[in-house]
């Protein structure tokens, strides 16, 4: 990086810059060490994923004996078996339903609140914002699950996934702040002009402002979706007495206790692949967005 800069300097100045210690050979050695380190870390990061993929294609017996990394013969039937026998069709449907509903709900609730907070003054605005900010930090762990559960029982929502969905939507404060940032980028003149033209508040929001917010909604939605797709403890608690409602995370983790768990490792790996793949695919497609937004969240 500095070579580039130095080369721009006049020739006389170049002499005054001391060379890095070690000279040419030292620099090559340093680069080699650095690349070895980078590749080793990358490999260690990918190793479990590779294991899952190859494991999902092995036979049960092959998994039992350890053996080599790659399967002797690809067992694509594992996926069909996991899908049907280990009930992954059901789990996938539950996960997808829950995550889609949570994403829609979170975006709706958070965007409406963020719009009003960004555009209007009202009594208690500061209190509202402070409470939302503190909701991101307060955590007493599993303890809140019980009163939440009791509330859902009172509302008769404990026998469906709607209880879990409502609870996940209630944790919308980070989406709220993210969307508030996006609203700031939309000029106020736009909604004012629309309202002068006779469009009501609600209509302006849904017809004019929300469509403009699409990129922001996409990013926030991606995060909300990832969060609910990966959620484990909440659906676990809610489906303890209702195995039909289990999501992928819960169903997969429960496979460990199966009567013949040891024989099913290959199915577990196939199931793990089934639950990881959608997120991984979304990640690869939206890699840049993920990385930029996550990186941006530390500022300010």
């Amino acid at each position: 990086m500095n070579e580039h800069v130095i080369s721009k300097q006049p020739a006389g100045l170049k002499q005054s810059v001391p060379r890095e210690p070690g000279g040419h050979a030292g620099r090559i050695a340093a680069r080699t060490v650095m690349w070895l380190f980078l590749l080793a870390t990358a490999l260690l990061t990918l190793f479990p994923l590779l294991m899952t993929l190859t494991g999902s294609l092995k036979t049960g017996a092959e998994m039992m004996t350890g053996g080599s990394l790659f399967p002797a013969k690809m067992q694509f039937a594992n996926y069909a078996e996991a899908w049907k026998q280990a009930n992954f069709a059901r789990y996938t449907w539950n996960s997808a339903f829950m995550s889609v509903m949570v994403t829609i709900g979170t975006l709706l609730v958070a965007s409406m609140a963020a719009y009003v907070v960004d555009r209007r003054e009202f009594p208690g605005k500061r209190i509202y914002v402070t409470v939302q900010a503190s909701m991101m930090f307060i955590s007493v762990g599993a303890i809140v699950l019980r009163p939440q559960f009791d509330l859902m029982v009172a509302l008769h929502l404990n026998t469906t996934l709607w209880g879990v969905i409502l609870i996940l939507v209630s944790a919308h404060s980070s989406t709220f702040f993210m969307l508030q940032g996006f609203f700031k980028a939309i000029p106020r003149e736009l909604d004012e002009a629309a309202m002068v033209d006779g469009s009501g508040f609600i209509r302006t929001f849904f017809r004019i402002i929300l469509p403009l917010l699409t990129p922001g909604l996409g990013v926030a939605g991606l995060f909300a979706f990832r969060h609910s797709w990966n959620e484990y403890i909440l659906p676990l608690v809610f489906t303890m007495t209702n195995p039909k409602l289990q999501t992928l995370t819960v169903g997969l983790a429960n496979l460990r206790y199966g009567s013949s768990a040891a024989m099913q490792i290959h199915l577990m790996m196939a199931g793990a692949c089934l639950s990881i793949l959608p997120m991984l695919l979304a990640y690869i497609l939206a890699n840049k967005t993920f990385i930029q937004v996550t990186a941006g969240s530390v500022k300010g």
């Binding site: 980078l38 990061t45 294991m51 209007r120 930090f137 209630s170 484990y232 608690v237 997969l252 996550t294």
Partner: protein, 299 residues
């Protein structure tokens, strides 16, 4: 006047869903806990007011303090490995290298995968008899007999490794964001003044990164003191309580059925444990914030 009321109505309508959800599912549970920590309440039947008895029980509860100790070992081990590693990766990837974005993508990948699912995978990878880790280590002749990774001796190390795997990419990215906000000309003028790479790192990068690092480290501390999901899946706190952490202990008091734990459900005592755990996390964060406040001032 009508206009004013209408505005108020619109505001309320748009805020109502958020406020109702936050009040009922976010704030009410906190008051619920604050109330029941003074009660003897099993979760069914009658709740009996017992004043501070839950807290005196807490002080004498060896299992709880053991879990607090484990929490600090776990969080300490995780942070000690994660933070330097992610900072090092961030510093390297901040330079102009071939394949930078691919590497960033790979390192960040674990954070998009469910902790529970990947813990199931690690559970199988670290299996002592047919796990891939032992197979690889034996083939490389690094060990002569399979290591019992999930046994009492190594279980803590195993859950720390899994936690580090899942966290490095995230903190690398946050550090990287901080590094990229450091103005490049600082480095250029330092290079002209004859500062070598080490000096530039020590005198420019570290102080300029300090405010961001302060935030990132705080997030990391909170997250590692609170994390129990992956431990729950991999070891369930076992063997013989060697990986029992604070929040997992709390979870077992509240939902003993799901973990097959022999403890009876105790919501009253659980509330006290939850409160104490939150206070411990808060105290550590506060202490960290106090001692790191100098990091906030760059100039």
């Amino acid at each position: 006047m009508i206009y004013k009321w209408r505005r108020l109505g619109e505001n309320s309508l748009f805020l109502a869903p958020s406020i109702i959800l936050t009040l009922t599912l976010g704030i009410y549970p906190l008051f619920w806990m604050l109330r029941y920590m003074f009660y003897d309440y099993a979760g069914y039947g009658e709740a009996l007011f017992i004043g501070l008895d839950n807290f005196s029980r807490l002080l004498r509860d060896g299992l709880f303090w053991e879990s607090v100790r484990n929490t600090f070992v776990f969080a300490g081990g995780k942070l000690l490995l994660t933070l330097p590693l992610s900072l090092l990766l961030a510093v390297i990837l901040n330079g102009k290298l071939r394949g930078v974005s691919l590497l960033r993508g790979i390192y960040f990948m674990p954070t998009v995968i469910s902790t529970a699912v990947i813990s199931v995978v690690f559970y199988n990878i670290f299996n002592s008899y047919n796990g891939m880790v032992n197979t690889v280590l034996m083939k490389l002749h690094l060990v002569s007999a399979p290591v019992d990774w999930l046994g009492p001796k190594h279980a803590m190390l195993t859950v720390i490794i899994v936690a580090v795997w899942g966290a490095v990419g995230n903190y690398m990215l946050l550090f990287l964001a901080g590094l990229q906000s450091i103005p490049q000309d600082l480095y250029e003028s330092a290079a002209i003044d004859g500062a070598n790479a080490g000096r530039r790192f020590w005198n420019i990068t570290l102080p300029m990164l300090a405010p961001v690092a302060q935030m990132v480290i705080m997030l990391a501390i909170i997250a590692s003191l609170k994390g129990y999901e992956s431990i729950m899946v991999i070891t369930e706190g076992g063997p013989i309580g060697k990986t029992e952490v604070m929040y997992l202990y709390l979870y077992k008091l509240l939902f003993p059925v799901s973990t097959g734990s022999p403890v009876a459900q105790q919501l009253g005592y659980g509330s006290a444990v939850g409160f104490a755990s939150a206070v411990i996390v808060g105290a550590v964060t506060g202490l960290y914030f106090f001692f790191s406040r100098k990091m906030n001032k760059v100039y």
